[in-house]
């Protein structure tokens, strides 16, 4: 199924939390400032309903997304008010992918964990949590995974300041 088909199906099954779809487009020749958008199409989803959205995607027999391939977050820029949660779903049966994006306000970076739906997201969520300071509610094992347990700050946020020292070791 191509993206349009998936989108139609999502609308048809009333997938919870679906906001809109975003598809790549060519730059508008009239508007100089518009650069268009390249890359993949994706759907935008309410973060609070992300878990139920992916569950609906998994359980629908026409979508059949058995695998969560990737879950990550993006901090688009320093001034952006939102973080993005990017989820990649994959259906082995129908050989299609779906990119999902959830806009999460930086001030309250909190959303329900996806682990009950896909256990694959367990480590991805731990990584997101330590790198972006996102809280996944209901995560079974919310420890740091790549960073030391006592790490301060969220390194992949754009406003992260590099520490001057770590345990008395100068990082200059």
């Amino acid at each position: 199924m191509d993206f349009q088909g998936i989108l139609d199906r999502l609308v048809a099954i009333r997938a919870p939390g679906l906001v809109k779809a975003d598809e790549p487009r060519k730059p508008d020749p009239k508007d100089k400032k518009d650069k268009g958008r390249a890359g993949d199409p994706f759907v935008i989803v309410e973060p609070a309903l992300l878990a139920s959205f992916v569950e609906a995607c998994r359980d629908d027999d026409r979508l059949h997304f058995e695998q969560l391939v990737d879950l990550t977050a993006t901090d688009p820029s320093k001034d952006s008010a939102d973080l993005w949660i990017n989820v990649q779903l994959l259906s082995l049966k129908f050989r299609h992918r779906l990119a999902i994006k959830a806009l999460l306000p930086k001030s309250a970076a909190k959303l329900p964990s996806l682990v009950p739906v896909y256990r694959a997201s367990q480590w991805h969520e731990r990584e997101c949590a330590e790198m972006f300071g996102i809280v996944f509610e209901g995560h079974p094992d919310p420890r740091n995974i790549l960073l030391p347990d006592d790490w301060v700050g969220s390194p992949l946020r754009k406003d992260y300041e590099f520490p001057k020292e770590y345990h008395g070791i100068s990082c200059e």
């Binding site: 650069k35 994706f42 082995l92 740091n144």
Partner: protein, 399 residues
């Protein structure tokens, strides 16, 4: 009597006195917590698994990562598009070509640049040769984990030639940085394709030796069959990819099912097959199945290389690219079939010279998550076999 027993007993033992004057002693001791790694011969790098064992039996396991974390994703936000290429070499250092390829394809998905056919074919040859090399290491070191030293060196003998081939085409033996955005860096030197063909011939002769010496050896079979069984459902739930998922009997290969470059054409030509485990030696999805898939895949890669050599065309090896690379705004996720599974690159651009986000979805990272579930119940020796069979590269789990 009871007092004497208590005195000599270790504090962990529990004592229960029944009313008829009998004393029941519970001599179970608490489980032994043992640090498997970070410096251990069988962790394939610096990974640490905190294991609880009851004698030889593993009752719990908890992988601890991050010893080799080199901030690859953060670096991606600070260097230019092309400059990030050498860093991709360094996460899965056994399959650098595939990493280069994944990153290049992701950026090209945003750029929309057309890749010359010769470049595509050279890319496939390099990626498949590197897959062979990576599987050789995986299979060889797996033998080493099981205790067979010699097949390891036989595997490295062939890998050495593969590395020499790469050394001829790009000048490096491990961190190639050869496949670049828009094509490849250099055209193949004269005589290189002939040598690749020779390598294929020799490899086909040597390949049965690995099977005879290790794969079907009864001790090897006994060590790996019915050990670390990952069921179909578990493989899907944990997002396992690549050899792990094929080892669980799921017929899935990105090269065939979501073809990139000209893999679709090669598949339609019937040049290669996807080996899927059938559970010949034990339960479906055990360690033996996974290693079998790897060994079989090497031969399929040889066939793909042969196809590319047969269909080689002349022409440029790099597409039309501006001098300073500016990538159009947008975001793309491209997953390719790395030797270890699906290597995904999620790149976000705002139209500038530097990426906004470079996310690497390492297959080892995802495949490793299953350890917590399959290690308990295994013996200590099995634990090594299971960790080895997931074929992780710590550079990629930690990035």
């Amino acid at each position: 009597m009871a007092n004497e027993v208590t005195k000599t007993m270790p504090p962990s033992t529990r004592l229960r006195q029944t009313d008829v004057g009998e004393v029941t002693v519970d001599i179970r001791t608490p489980d032994l917590e043992i640090n498997f790694g970070p410096q251990h011969p069988a962790t394939h790098g610096v990974m640490r698994v905190l294991m609880r064992t009851d004698g030889e039996l593993v009752t719990g396991a908890q992988p601890h990562l991050g010893y080799l974390h080199r901030c690859a994703e953060k670096i991606g936000e600070n260097v230019e598009w092309l400059q990030y290429l050498p860093y991709t070499d360094r996460y899965d250092y056994l399959a650098s070509m595939n990493n280069n390829l994944g990153y290049s394809l992701a950026v090209e998905a945003l750029l929309g640049v057309e890749i010359p056919r010769r470049a595509t074919l050279i890319r496939i040859i390099c990626a498949e040769l590197n897959r062979i090399g990576s599987h050789l290491v995986a299979f060889g070191t797996y033998g080493l984990d099981i205790g067979a030293f010699t097949p390891f060196l036989y595997c490295f003998r062939e890998r050495e030639w593969m590395m020499a081939l790469f050394e001829k085409i790009c000048g490096a033996r491990l961190t190639y940085s050869y496949i670049r955005i828009g094509g490849v860096f250099n055209d193949a030197p004269p005589g290189w394709f002939e040598e690749v063909a020779r390598f294929c011939d020799v490899f086909e002769q040597k390949w049965p030796e690995y099977v005879d010496l290790l794969l079907v050896n009864q001790i090897y079979v006994k060590r790996t069959a019915n050990v670390g069984v990952i069921s179909r459902e578990m493989a899907l739930d944990f997002g396992l990819t690549g050899t792990m998922v094929r080892g669980s009997g799921i017929d899935w290969d990105l090269r065939r099912d979501m073809p990139y470059m000209c893999y679709g054409e090669i598949w339609r030509d019937g040049a290669f097959k996807i080996p899927v485990a059938k559970g010949e030696m034990g339960a479906l999805g055990d360690c033996w199945d996974r290693s079998w898939v790897r060994v079989m895949e090497m031969m399929e890669s040889i066939k793909i290389v042969r196809w590319c050599l047969d269909h080689m065309v002349d022409g440029p090896v790099i597409g039309e690219l501006p001098k300073t690379l500016k990538v159009p705004a947008g975001e793309a996720y491209v997953g390719i079939e790395n030797p270890r599974g699906e290597l995904g690159h999620y790149v976000v651009s705002d139209g500038g010279k530097v990426s906004v986000r470079t996310r690497v979805r390492g297959p080892s990272f995802c495949n490793l998550a299953v350890l917590e579930d399959i290690l308990p119940g295994a013996l200590v020796g099995d634990a090594i076999a299971i960790i080895g069979s997931t074929d992780i590269v710590v550079g990629e789990t930690d990035r």
